[in-house]
């Protein structure tokens, strides 16, 4: 163990190889190895699968941009998880928050008045609508926690299911967001949002579809990192997380902190949904949020409270998903393999938490 510390120090004095960093890397490596084993077991040549995987992640400008866009959604949900977790709250409702964010963004974007607005308001308003919807969705869990002591894990989970079915309802019902039914073959989806409400692309080129969600996410990352480490607000979250009673004695409102934390986490989920819709998908479809909430949650879990950690994990999963999708199309390895790998990572890290803590204390 000392040898490890020494090499870490020798290589980079400020960036010591800490267990909190080493263990997640080891967990990802372990899970990836099992993934490779499963590919071999399925009978697909491992080389072909890896080639397809790499092609899907960094094989073209398009796949890189698509992977990054995916990572942005994961990262936003992950940031929200880390923020709420600072107050010892576990937000597992990302899936539903993304769904309601996407619904609200679509509804506002399709409103006839919005597309004509100047100064970028045409896409800013739908985006904000997504944030507000997600924040309200998160706040429901907060209010239940304060009023009835309901564990937010179970409430955010149930709200997730409700959000996902709400999405289904919106795209099934012509009275809501379904596009006008011209025939019985009309798909259950919304109209495409107007051109003006789509997020501007950074390069203006659809072969490299990075949109302004990227700079927005970077700004949010910086803001959250600063809030958590340098502001009174961050201190309040931590105080409530460590000991709500003591925090209350010190004049920090438990109720307000919980509402802020869960609404902020929900708002970030809502923003993720809005960005996915306004930046990539353009039409609201059933299941558009599928899996995104859980990937973001896992990114947040992996990060162990660090914003940089969320970014690293979100990028990992963003590229992994893209690679996984390409693996399914080209090498016929089901994307479920990526889900298996993620599950293994979460379980390994959950099981290793005790060791990380003991090790760090030494």
């Amino acid at each position: 163990m000392t040898a490890l510390d020494q090499t870490g120090k020798a290589a980079a004095p400020r960036f010591r190889l800490r267990p909190a960093l080493l263990v997640p890397i080891a967990a990802v490596g372990f899970a990836a190895l099992i993934g490779l084993g499963l590919i071999a077991l399925i009978g697909v040549p491992v080389g072909d699968a890896i080639a397809a995987f790499i092609d899907g992640t960094v094989g073209s400008a398009y796949s890189i941009a698509a992977s990054i866009n995916r990572s942005i959604a994961f990262a936003l949900v992950g940031f929200g998880f880390v923020l709420a977790n600072r107050a010892n709250l576990t937000n597992v409702g990302g899936e539903g928050q993304i769904a309601v964010g996407g619904i609200a963004a679509t509804a506002v974007a399709l409103d006839g008045h919005v597309s004509g607005l100047p100064l970028g308001l045409a896409f800013i308003l739908p985006m904000l609508a997504g944030v507000v919807a997600g924040a309200l969705w998160g706040a429901i869990a907060a209010i239940m926690k304060i009023k009835a002591g309901t564990n937010e894990v179970i409430s955010t989970l149930l709200l997730s299911f409700i959000g996902v079915w709400l999405l289904y309802w919106c795209v099934q019902s012509p009275a809501l967001l379904r596009k006008p039914m011209t025939s019985s073959a009309t798909l259950p989806e919304s109209l495409e949002i107007p051109e003006e409400t789509k997020l501007p692309l950074l390069t203006g080129d659809y072969s490299f579809p990075l949109h302004i969600g990227l700079p927005i996410a970077i700004v949010i990352a910086v803001v959250i990192a600063v809030v958590l480490s340098k502001t009174i607000l961050g201190l309040r979250l931590r105080a409530v997380g460590l000991n709500p009673v003591a925090a209350n004695r010190a004049g920090i409102s438990y109720a307000r902190t919980v509402i802020f934390a869960l609404a902020a986490a929900g708002g970030l989920g809502g923003l993720a949904g809005a960005l996915m819709l306004l930046g990539e998908q353009y039409t609201l479809k059933d299941g558009f949020s599928s899996g995104y909430g859980f990937d973001g949650l896992v990114a947040g879990l992996l990060a162990r409270g660090s914003v940089t950690g969320v970014i690293a994990a979100a990028l990992l999963f963003g590229f992994m998903r893209s690679g996984g999708i390409n693996m399914e199309m080209v090498a016929e390895v089901p994307t479920a393999l990526v889900v298996v790998i993620q599950g293994l990572i979460v379980i390994t890290l959950a099981g290793a938490a005790l060791f990380i803590e003991r090790w760090e204390r030494k």
């Binding site: 019902s173 859980f294 089901p334 790998i341 993620q342 599950g343 099981g351 938490a353």
Partner: protein, 305 residues
């Protein structure tokens, strides 16, 4: 509503409540001892898959059921090790298991059956109990159910008796409420909690098997669709009591049955709202409709000597 329709509604409420009942009672026992199993969902899915494959491969649903029960035990053991020995966060580890199982069963299903299979799988038989089953109109529609339900009812009654009248029941309750006292008395809290998680796994395996080979005689990817979480909500709704949990499960079952019943009555309610209804009810239930919650004192906290 005619009597016939009412009988059908009652029967399908009970049928749809069955997996929740089985899983919910197991989860309740585990929570009484202080362990929250978010992995009930994953355990059910494991068994739904394993029993379907077992029944399909051997042609015998009974062997399928056995394989389902056996397949869940390693999953339950994993949860028990994580939440007791490794003292992991029970929520995180449970969700991790659910993700893993969803991925693994989907992957294995694709490999065995192919992507678009609608394989018909031999299922468990129904029985009609004497007397009750002979009631005109009500009898066949309400009481002719898969025998797993009747086994489940027997297990639930047995569980209630054990919890109430035996020293095992007392030890389980104490392990959740006063683990330190249990430890001082010479019993092992860890051992009690391991046992309860494995029992929850056993009940969840019956629930999962009911979903696939009991109810619809096929397996679909991710077919539990949150039933495990509903089971957990029913425990909270039922205030950690057998009777309350059973009632909560029946309520969720009835809410699910409305999906099929209301359209049949010509009531025009959006389908999505009906699908959402059990989750909505569960949310209202955990959100204070039942008053202040009375969770076991150390629920979710790993025990440390």
């Amino acid at each position: 509503m005619t009597w016939e329709l009412f009988a059908v509604f009652l029967g399908s409420s009970i049928r749809l409540a069955t997996p929740l009942l089985l899983a919910g009672i197991g989860e309740m026992v585990s929570e009484r001892a202080g362990v929250l199993n978010m992995s009930i969902e994953g355990m059910m899915l494991t068994s739904a898959f394993a029993s379907a494959v077992g029944a399909w491969a051997t042609g015998d649903p009974l062997i399928g059921l056995l394989i389902g029960i056996i397949a869940v035990q390693p999953v339950a053991l994993l949860q028990a090790v994580l939440s007791n020995t490794l003292r992991a966060n029970q929520i995180v580890s449970g969700i991790g298991i659910n993700i893993l199982v969803l991925g693994a069963t989907t992957l294995a299903y694709r490999e065995i059956f192919g992507a678009r299979s609608r394989a018909e799988i031999p299922g468990l038989g129904k029985i009609k109990p004497p007397l009750l089953g002979d009631i005109p109109v009500l009898g066949p529609a309400v009481f002719e159910q898969v025998w797993l339900l009747y086994l489940g009812i027997a297990l639930i009654v047995l569980t209630a008796l054990v919890l109430r009248y035996t020293s095992i029941g007392l030890a389980i309750h104490a392990a959740g409420a006063e683990p330190k006292a249990v430890d001082k008395s010479g019993l092992s809290v860890t051992r009690i909690r391991y046992g309860c998680v494995l029992f929850a796994g056993f009940m969840a395996s019956l629930a999962g098997a009911f979903l696939s080979i009991g109810d619809i005689h096929t397996f679909t990817e991710g077919m539990t669709r949150g039933a495990g979480y509903l089971a957990i909500a029913s425990v909270i709704f039922g205030k950690w009591r057998v009777g309350g949990t059973v009632l909560a499960c029946l309520l969720f079952g009835a809410a699910t049955a409305l999906q099929f019943q209301l359209p049949a009555l010509g009531v025009d309610v959006p389908n999505a709202l009906l699908i959402m209804l059990p989750y909505l009810l569960a949310l209202l239930a955990v959100g204070g409709l039942v008053g202040r919650q009375m969770a076991p004192a150390t629920l979710g906290e790993p025990f440390r000597r």
